[in-house]
Amino acid sequence: MREKLAFSGVGFSYGEKPILDGFDLQLSKGELVSLIGPSGIGKSTLFQLAAGLLQPDTGTIRLDGKSTAERLGRVGYMPQRDLLMPWRTVAENAGLPLEIQGFSKSEIRERIAEELPRFGLAEWKDAYPDELSGGMRQRVSFLRALMTGADLLLLDEPFSALDGITRMEMQEWLLSMWQQTGSTMLLITHDIDEAILLADRVVVLLGSPIRQPVELQVSVPRPRTLASRNDPEFHALRGEIWELLRGHGAANGEVSEA
């Protein structure tokens, strides 16, 4: 499999606070990897590094096999808050990356109109974000990330603000989108079940600074549905991840039940 994104020996600190130290992570093309870790450990920093908003202090970040500092505009980012512009309609929000790339208005309109149906948003083309439900807003946000044209998507706790039922629906929906688009996805989550259900690999981030992440292969068969949660392997992984997170928390004297 071809390498899509790679961190090798990356070190980064926010002022005095070291976040990453000699950090390695590889993503192959078409892989879906979830990152899980205690809050405040620096998951969002990791994303900002990957997206090119930040540059590493030491080490390199490779995109498509090439080490480059010019990552802005090459990675699709779906933020935790949907960050839809309230003054733009659904179609205008989704078309924002195309606008920035300089496509003509009519071309943007055409391409968005093509995409909206499979996002269940065809009838909401001209609606404004505050008329949409939470799940719909996240779908617009996802479409916007896709429209960057980047085949690497960073999803930062995309479903954390949704209610339980909508979240499960969106997880299944995301799986089907991933299968359709073949994009490489890196997903940050707080939710152990979500991490396992969606991903090929779960990367558990531990320590301050983060040095070597623990990687766990998920071999629960695909296609997965909500029923996959009952798979024995799923249970075993859940236990293992929980032990890792709890063990780490105990070592730092900050254990807290999720």
Partner: protein, 257 residues
């Protein structure tokens, strides 16, 4: 639609009741007309003086207000933009903008009349004095107040400085600009009125002051009524402009009613 109709109806009822109570109080308590004229007398006087009031004085005040407000918007928005784009200009100018908020502007008005004269220019200058700062401050704050995360998101899409400005900062600042404009719209009438008090030969402020000196209370009230309506009209216009410029609010309102 029903809701707004109901609201309008209630407002109408409220105004009529107030006028009736006022009229009744004046007549029953025999209040001298030079202290508080009943509304009927005010309206009568408005009718009698219609040619002077509407033809000459309202027109004069309107001109001062319109030109003053226009120049304030032009220069206020420009200054806010320059401050946003240049750190140096911001550092040099912003302290004065903050200090200006604490100065009693009325006290400064005679200085402006001294500099700009007793003709139209002087009144426009006083109107600008009243309306410039609310517009600068609100527009500048609006341009500064944009969401950092949204900024970062646009940067990950590869947006350049101009695109960040035109697609995010500018539209995000509009609500702030319009709240400043609404304040400025009402202040502009005060500005023009005070400019006229300080020395004029026409305008509703000038007319009211002369009427007050001659104890012509009904004429005075007639000019105050026109000034109030002018202020409300400008405020309403600013609100309409805001609705026009921000389609999402227009849409939501249509849906709720």
């Amino acid at each position: 639609m029903k809701e707004s109709l109901k609201k309008g109806l209630w407002f109408f009822v409220s105004v009529i009741s107030l006028l009736i109570a006022w009229e009744a109080a004046c007549r029953l308590l025999a209040v001298p007309a030079f202290i508080l004229p009943p509304p009927s007398t005010v309206l009568l006087s408005l009718w009698d003086l219609r040619e002077q009031l509407l033809g000459q004085h309202l027109w004069a005040t309107l001109r001062e207000v319109g030109l003053g407000l226009f120049i304030s918007i032009l220069f206020g928005v420009s200054l806010a933009l320059v401050m946003t784009l240049s750190k140096t200009v911001e550092r040099l100018v912003y302290p004065y903008i903050v200090i200006s908020q604490t100065i009693p502007i009325i006290a400064l008005s005679p200085v402006f009349i001294l500099w700009f004269g007793y003709d139209l220019t002087g009144k426009i200058a006083v109107t600008i004095l009243f309306t410039f700062f609310p517009i600068v401050v609100s527009t500048y704050d609006g341009l500064k107040a944009c969401d950092r995360e949204m900024m970062n998101l646009l940067r990950t899409m590869g947006a350049n400085k101009w695109q960040l400005f035109s697609k995010l900062q500018l539209p995000a600042s509009l609500p702030h600009f319009f709240s400043g404009l609404k304040v400025a719209a009402t202040y502009s009438v005060s500005g023009a009125t005070i400019g006229e008090w300080l020395g004029a030969s026409e305008g509703l402020g000038y007319f009211g002051r002369r009427a007050s000196g001659n104890f012509q209370a009904p004429a005075l009230f007639a000019s105050v009524l026109l000034l109030s309506i002018l202020g409300m009209l400008l405020f309403w216009l600013a609100g309409r402009l805001e609705l026009w410029a921000s389609p999402q609010t227009r849409n939501r309102k249509d849906k709720k009613r």
